[in-house]
């Protein structure tokens, strides 16, 4: 306990409460301390709140099979297991892609989802085109629309070949639009 007997203490009604510049000093120090704590808390708390809003999903190259096993000129459905992350949850899910190898060995990979309303389409050997069972959209071997309500060609997925293996980056696209927009 210390009793400060300071010159500018002016007892008012029995109180010895500081006035004048000393009073201003205490008020400013209080404000400064509140500012330090306030900013020190606001930055990490709000930062943590908005953090996931601006994190892009990390996409990875997935090995979907050997390039040699793809028949030239005939679309093939390739299944693979991909790890999808949803916050702290990690799930392994089976995904399929359609791969077409042209006679020169160039590979095109299509998303397996119809661009109309998101059904899964298939390759029809007899008709020589991709057919969607839901609303009858059809696509050529290069993905172009041949008929039906599909608003745009099939969506292409990034693909590359590394030491004989076909690698694909799986993505989802918005359906029903004339332009291909990644989800």
């Amino acid at each position: 306990m210390s009793h400060h007997k300071l010159s500018d203490h002016q007892p008012e009604g029995g109180f010895s409460t500081p006035v004048g510049s000393r009073r201003t000093f205490f008020q400013w120090m209080t404000l400064a301390a509140a500012g330090v704590v306030g900013m020190g808390l606001a930055i990490p708390l709000l930062g943590s709140l908005i953090s996931p809003a601006f994190t892009r999903r990390r996409l990875a190259w997935v090995d979907v099979g050997a390039i040699d096993e793809l028949p030239a000129g005939r679309p093939t459905q390739l299944d693979h297991v991909t790890t999808t992350r949803d916050g702290w949850m990690e799930a392994k899910s089976r995904k399929a892609v359609w791969a077409v190898k042209d006679p020169q060995g160039e590979v095109t990979v299509f998303s397996p989802i119809c661009t109309h309303l998101g059904c899964g389409y298939r390759w029809d050997d007899a008709a020589n085109k991709f057919l969607c069972p839901c609303h009858g959209s059809s696509f050529g071997i290069n993905g172009q629309v041949l008929g039906g309500p599909a608003p745009r060609p099939l969506d292409r997925l990034p693909a590359k070949v590394e030491s004989g293996r076909l690698l694909v980056m799986y993505k989802d696209f918005k359906s029903g639009l004339a332009e291909s927009i990644e989800l």
């Binding site: 109180f15 205490f26 120090m29 330090v36 808390l41 916050g87």
Partner: protein
């Protein structure tokens, strides 16, 4: 601008009397740095509430996601580690602040008439904070959390007649599991905050009705008073800012231990409670057999009751500590026992890891060669190579490790682990470190 807004509101809401009530409270004997602990405790409660709310945005209170969501907060969320660090160290700081607050009240005899009710509400608040600590400890759902809580609940089970009933209610059944985690979570974030806010309001209400005790001077009439603002407010604010910076510094500099995910089948895990429960953990080591219930519930119950009713046990009206040797002596004895046990416990905890310097050197080599890029130890590191958390149990053979480090393919054909240029010393240290990685920590 601010003052015009204030005048506008004041002319309608009549704020001046409120301001006078809040800021012009008389402090007998004047403001002092020794009176800051109550405000610091209140600030730390607000800190815990704020950081807790933001942690709840990401935390998932189920056994299959709790651990992963904490890890997610630590690694994926910007400042997530800091928010969790503030909450963790804030809890410790709160226990310290309450301890100092109670010690000051005890020394100044501020619990004496007419302030008995304020002391008793304060003891209840202290018990609520310890309940916060106990329930919050389980939430990360790691090994330490799981087994420490297991022991805590089993201790409740030793109370005769009602123990079994209480421990079942705490667990939400026979075993510690999903139901336990969700009820601990609900208690920690919904029930306790609601109760403690009422308790804090009551504590402050009593304070404002009887007023602060002030110095222990015998002739109180001779004391001059000072208003709460601005000097006591300034002292409180400065210490609060210092405490905040200290807690933030701890959160920055000491990474939070998150042990392996809780494994109910691993009974070899030896849990260690938080430091503020350590003295009690140590006490239990000395009491066995028929005397055990004495330590698990008779003694704690007695201590709590004595604390609660202390103002009625110590009826001496004198407040000057020098003139009440019995009260001071018993308080001192209590603190000596608590801190003595805490000291012994800490000494023993840190005695074990220092045994073998080779382990520390091995750990350094492990970091130096970037092993963590492929291997995982207790959740830390890549998943390309095998998890090494318990390699000392699964591969206890020293010769195998030495051979493996020299040429991995020689003992594990097809392994793509590279050969590292290790000196003989490093080879031995790394092997010693590998063998030290066992289940029982």
């Amino acid at each position: 601008m601010a003052s015009r807004l204030y005048d506008w509101l004041d002319s309608r809401l009549n704020l001046k009397p409120v301001q006078r009530t809040l800021l012009d409270e008389p402090i007998p004997g004047g403001a002092s740095w020794i009176y800051v602990f109550g405000s610091v405790t209140l600030f730390l409660f607000v800190l815990q509430a704020a950081t807790g709310m933001f942690l709840a945005i990401y935390y998932a209170p189920t056994p299959d996601h709790a651990y992963d969501s904490i890890r997610f907060i630590e690694t994926e969320i910007t400042f997530g580690w800091l928010v969790r660090g503030l909450h963790h160290w804030g809890a410790s700081a709160m226990v310290v602040a309450i301890g100092l607050h109670m010690l000051q009240t005890f020394l100044y005899g501020a619990y004496k008439s007419p302030r008995e009710a304020m002391w008793m509400v304060g003891v209840v608040l202290f018990l609520l904070v310890m309940t916060f600590a106990f329930t919050g400890y389980l939430l990360p759902w790691d090994q330490t959390a799981y087994w420490a809580t297991q022991i805590g609940i089993n201790m409740v089970g030793t109370i005769p007649l009602v123990g079994d009933f209480f421990s079942r209610v705490l667990r939400g059944g026979e075993v510690l599991g999903a139901l336990t985690l969700s009820r601990f979570f609900a208690i920690h974030v919904l029930f306790l905050p609601a109760i403690i806010i009422g308790g804090i309001a009551l504590h402050l209400f009593v304070l404002r009705r009887v007023g602060p005790a002030g110095p222990w001077a015998d002739d109180r009439a001779s004391l001059s008073s000072e208003t709460f603002a601005p000097r006591q407010v300034y002292m409180d604010a400065v210490v609060i800012a210092a405490v905040f910076l200290l807690v933030a510094m701890l959160a920055f500099s000491i990474p939070l231990p998150l042990t392996d995910k809780a494994d109910p089948s691993d009974t070899s895990f030896v849990p260690v409670p938080e430091w503020y429960f350590l003295f009690y953990y140590e006490l239990l080591k000395y009491v066995h057999g028929p005397l055990e219930p004495l330590a698990t519930w008779v003694l704690p119950l007695c201590v709590i009751l004595i604390m609660l009713f202390w103002p009625f046990i110590d009826r001496n009206p004198i407040r000057n500590p020098i003139r009440r040797p019995v009260a001071l002596g018993s308080g001192l004895l209590f603190l000596l026992v608590v801190f003595g046990l805490l000291g012994i416990s800490i000494k023993q905890l840190y005695a074990v890891p220092r045994a073998d310097p080779a382990v520390a050197r091995g750990k350094a080599a492990y970091a130096q060669f970037g092993c963590v890029g492929c291997h995982r130890i207790h959740g830390e590191g890549g998943a390309v190579g095998p998890d090494l958390s318990t390699i000392g149990d699964t591969r206890p053979d020293r010769a195998w490790h030495l051979k493996h480090f020299r040429d991995p393919q020689s003992v594990t054909p097809g392994s793509f682990m590279p050969k590292f240029p290790l000196t003989d010393q490093q080879l031995n240290d790394l092997t010693t470190y590998m063998l030290s990685l066992k289940r029982a920590s």
